[in-house]
Assembly symmetry: C2
DNA sequence: TTGTAAGCGTTATCAA
DNA sequence: TTGATAACGCTTACAA
């Protein structure tokens, strides 16, 4: 229980003295208990209890090199998607035993690089990267087990949602809803991030069915207020009143913007008018908690995280076996999204 | 940059051999650079670069006992309040240099205790506790620097929002809105958690002004779905149609339930009817992003976290100076909330 | 089944 | 201003 005043930490040596075994035997008690005589195991167990021994993993790490710590870099834990993923990652502790040193919110390469240096100094066994300030080429150069989720991943192993399929599914659902005009609301995206697949899925589906579509792109900034004003502008300038008599299918590339669209329509009409259909992306909790539960494309957070951990622990194991990480063969896992039809579509 | 194939880690010894200094001098370069001859400092700097030295904090920790790691225990990072606080805590890295080992989601004492044992094994310098499975008495018994935020805190140092004042402010605002009946919607709360102050603030204000009030309590469970059904039941059974002709002021003890109330009203009436006023608690992002921005009582996350870190780092410093933590004198900081009036009140 | 002794890569204490 | 040497608390051959 409590550590007494001024008491020094109890060490293996103390247990050894007390039990008249050697340090080695105490170490074995923890790491290879089956190799001890049952009676002696018992003695040590009692000694540990009476002397109030507490493990010291730092010493163990220095001796065997295994920290059992993974570094986690995320842009934030504020946003639905990242908090969802981070939560699931932390919960893998029960299965894998890895602890997580977490850094959140690096906005520049410099800051992120500093975080990584810290993590490496702590001898983390691997890195999970959700943030996107540092190019994958540089990440690969650290030569440490590493996997990314939903970010640019050319030179590193990664797990991504099949964003293209998501775009196809979303657009397909609007198509089945008999929309007349298909509107993509988006923040301008670079073509090398996984999320761009959503745009391609939309465009290809529109082309395939010869649909009347619009891409409405406004930079949505980094804060909620900026996003609200961008989406509001997008709606007012390019959607509301622009297609009288036509049924409008709106595909928002994030649930956040879908919610804003829905809220604006509600404030204006007191409901979701029948000539509007909306679908978002991410299946964040907020999409379900909106005034009307919003249809969305669900990223399978559990599967994304499970897959990421599998890839990462494989790399960690290989490294332990002395094999270097093969940079020329990054693994890119792709997880199918799930169409989640709720109240903003039929 | 990259670590070459099969290359062993570069150590102080390597730098020492290369520069023909001793390990000690290399150590000094990092810890007391001013005590080195400038020219030699220069030499070492170059050696570090050419040999690609990377810090090893594990060895440093074993030698000097300072991990610069704080353990963080949170119920989740999914919910507005906890993710807000966790985010701010992680960002104190820039100011304090502490890294965070994060555990989320312990639902039972046993699990949480396991987490704490791990953290102690890693020799964390302190603990920040947001979760509430383990009684404060036990937390105090670990004899480690520790501070809690918004949880039962009888035997430990803590930082809490002035929940009582929040309850008073919220009820006062509804009073100023000329409501006729005052309804508290709540999950049954134990009286020893800080949040119960909100209830007392409500009750005292109602008593002071001789208001007609109701306490509507339904267990809200642990998932969003459970909360929705509890709040919906509360509304249908005890509020809607129960006070015809009266202006209803609803005080929800969390933004989550306030949002659900607002959504239900919107679905039913297409707007927030003029005989309803709503105020929530927490100022979570979601409260602002609701169909109508919701009035709420804001917990000052920045101040809560700053204060918590001050208290914790004080304890850490005192412990380094050899003083034991005075369990008989836990510090309880109380941070005033801020009334944030938005569209669901006048 | 148990013990001896040499690490692991730093920092701290004395000396010089 | 620099160096030798002993910690720090554990693991891991190798021996017995």
């Amino acid at each position: 229980m409590a550590r007494e005043k001024g008491e020094k930490n109890v060490t293996f040596q103390d247990i050894a003295n007390y039990t008249r075994f050697s340090k080695t035997t105490i170490s074995r008690y923890f790491n290879h208990p089956e190799s001890l005589a049952p009676a002696n195991r018992q003695k040590i167990e009692e000694a540990l209890a009476t002397l109030h021994y507490n493990e010291n993993k730092v010493a163990r790490i220095l001796a065997n090199g295994q920290t059992e710590i993974i570094g986690l870099l995320t842009p934030n834990i504020y946003n639905g998607f990242y908090s969802m993923i981070t939560e699931k990652i932390l919960q893998t502790y029960e299965r894998y035993g890895f602890k997580f040193l977490v850094f959140s919110g690096a906005e520049t390469e410099g800051v992120e690089r500093k975080y990584i240096r810290e993590l490496l100094a702590y001898q983390v066994e691997g890195l999970i990267v959700l943030s996107h300030t540092i190019p994958s080429m540089e990440l690969a150069s650290y030569g440490i087990p590493l996997v990314s989720i939903e970010r640019e991943d050319r030179y590193i192993s990664s797990v991504n949602t099949d964003n293209y399929m998501g775009g196809v599914q979303a657009t397909g659902l609007l198509y089945k809803n008999d929309c007349d005009v298909f509107i993509l609301i988006n923040s301008p995206t670079k073509a090398d991030v996984p999320g761009y697949g959503r745009v391609r899925g939309f465009l290809d589906t529109c082309a395939e069915h010869h649909l009347d579509y619009r891409m409405v792109e406004y930079p949505m900034g980094h804060t909620y207020d900026e996003t609200v004003s961008a989406v509001t502008k997008a709606l007012e300038n390019n959607v509301l009143d622009a297609f009288p008599g036509k049924k409008k299918g709106i595909f928002c590339l994030s649930d956040t913007s879908a919610i804003i669209v829905l809220n604006q329509l509600y404030r204006r009409y007191g409901c979701l008018p029948d000539d509007y259909r909306i679908i978002g992306f991410d299946n964040t909790p907020a999409s379900r908690e909106a005034v009307l539960p919003i249809s969305t494309i669900g990223q399978q957070a559990d599967t994304l995280v499970d897959t990421a951990m599998t890839i990462l622990t494989d790399q960690i194991r290989m490294k332990k076996e002395g094999n270097e990480i093969d940079l020329s063969r990054p693994v890119h896992a792709v997880i199918p999204p799930r169409l989640i039809a709720r109240a903003t579509t039929d």
